[in-house]
Amino acid sequence: MKRYSAFAIAREALRHHSGWQRAWRSPEPKSRYDVVIVGAGGHGLATAYYLGRRFGIKNVAVIEKGWLGGGNTGRNTTIIRSNYLQDPSAAIYEKSRSLYETLSQELNYNIMFSPRGVIMLAQTHHEVRGYQRTAHANALQGVTTEFISPRRVKELVPIINIDGPRYPVLGGLWQARGGTARHDAVAWGYARACSDMGMDIIQQCEVTGIRQTDGKVTGVSTTRGEIGCDKLGLVVAGHSGVLADMAGFRLPVESVALQALVSEPIKPCMDVVVMANTVHGYMSQSDKGEMVIGGGADGYNNYTQRGSFHHIEETVRALIETFPMISRLKMLRQWGGIVDMTGDRSPILSRTPLDGCFINCGWGTGGFKAIPGSGYGMAELMAKGYSPLTDAFGLERFREGRFIDESVAAGVAH
C-alpha cells in the first residue's frame, strides 16, 4: 500500500493523478478463515484491525451485506466524548477517545478528529446534581471534565440563550478534549489498513445462517457461499437480534430508529458540540457549515431506517428555544439508523452460548465514539478469551445484576 503524504500529493499532481491505488481490495471470499467478523461498520472493522495489528491474527474476513460503513457508522452525528458515570464505561470510552487522538497518524488516513470540546447542558436542578456527580466520578477515573457555570457556557457558545423560559441553562459538563471526527473516514481508514494486512473485506455479502457442530461454531452461510471459521464475531448493531437468532440464542436488545438532520451551510457560528439532554436535542457545526442535529430515539421496534416525523419536530422545537438564531434555518437532509438498545444503555462485548462465537452490540445511540476502544477490547477478547476492557460488559451481567447503568447519566447517550 502506498502511503498518503504531502509528497504523494505533489507526485500525483505531476502525473495527472494516475498513480492512486484503490484504498482496499474487493476479493472473492475464501472457503475458510481463522476469524470471520460479520458487519463492516466501524466496530467490526476496528475489531479486525486490532486482531491483526496487536494480536497477530491476520487470516481474517469482514463480511458486509451492504457497503462498508453504510450502517450506523455512516449515519451518526459523530460526537466523541468519554464523560460517562460508571468506571467500566469511563475505561472503554476514554481508551477509545485517546486512540482517536492519534488514529489519523496510526492509520495514515485523515479521520479529521476534531477535539473541539463537548458541553452537556444542565437545564434542570436534577441535571445539575447529576452532572456534578459525573464530574466527580470522572476526576476519580482520570477523565478530564469540569462542571462549568452558565456564564462560561455563554462564553463558549455565544449563540446560546441561557435564560429560556422553560429550560434555562444552569450549568454544563464540559469535556475540552471531546469533539467529532469524520464518520466515513473512520470506516475507510480501518478498512484500508485491514486490507493492507491481507485481510478480506467482502461487501455485498449477507450472512444468512450460522453453522455449528456440537455447540461450537464452524462457519457462516452467506449469499456468496459457505465460509468456514474457527472464531466468529457478530458486530451488526441493529441486526444483532437477527444474527443471534441464527446462532440460537436471545439477547436483551431491542432495535429502534434514531434520526438526525442537517441544515443548509452557514458561516461558522458554533465551534463546540452542545448536547441538551433534558429536551433531547444536540447540535454541532460541520466543517462545511451545516448544523448537524440529532434527537431522541423512537419508542418501538423498527428496522426501516426511517423514524417518526414528530421526533424531529420535538427536537427542533426544543433546540430553537435554546438557540433562537436557528429558527430560520432550512433543513436539507434527514435520515435514520437502527440502533440496538440494551436495558442499562451500556454495550455488550461478550462470549455467547455458542462456543467460538462472540458478540459486540448494544452501543445503541452512542457507539461511534467507542469504535477504537471497542475494536481493541473485542480483538483482545477474541484473541485471548479475556480483556480487562470488556470484562464488565459480558452478557451474564444481566443475570448477575451487575448493570452498568448509564441511562441516568445520559438520557440520550450520543
Binding site: G241, G299, Y300, N301, Y303, S308, R399
Partner: protein
C-alpha cells in the same frame, strides 16, 4: 406516521396519541420462578425483523391498553386487539398467515 385503531374506543389513533408499551404476552414470572425464567422475563426481548406483537396505550385518548400486530420491516399493521388476552386471536393470526406465509413469533405461528 404510524396509525393504530384503538380496539377499545374504535378511534384511528396517530402515533402521537399513543405510547408504546413493549413486547406483548410476556409471562410475568415472580420471585419463585427459576433463574432462567426470571432473567428472560426481565431482560430478554423478542427483536424480530418482521412480524411482531406489542402492547400500546391510547394515552392521549381513552387511556386504555391494547395489543397490536405489526411488521417491523414495512410498518404494516396487521390488526389490533384487546389487552385482556394472553395470545393473539385466531382472526389476527389468519391475517398474518395470508400476508406473511411461514411467519413465526416466540413459538406461535
Amino acid at each position: 406516521m404510524l396509525t393504530l385503531r384503538c380496539p377499545v374506543c374504535g378511534i384511528d389513533a396517530d402515533e402521537t396519541e399513543l405510547s408504546p408499551g413493549g413486547e406483548a404476552h410476556l409471562t410475568r414470572f415472580g420471585p419463585d420462578a427459576s433463574d432462567d425464567d426470571f432473567h428472560d422475563y426481565l431482560f430478554t426481548r423478542e427483536n424480530p425483523r418482521g412480524v411482531h406483537f406489542e402492547r400500546w396505550r391510547h394515552s392521549y385518548g381513552c387511556g386504555k391498553w391494547f395489543h397490536a400486530a405489526r411488521c417491523t420491516v414495512t410498518l404494516e399493521v396487521f390488526g389490533t386487539y384487546s389487552a385482556q388476552t394472553t395470545e393473539p386471536p385466531a382472526g389476527i393470526r389468519a391475517v398474518i398467515a395470508e400476508k406473511r406465509p411461514g411467519w413465526s413469533w416466540r413459538g406461535l405461528s
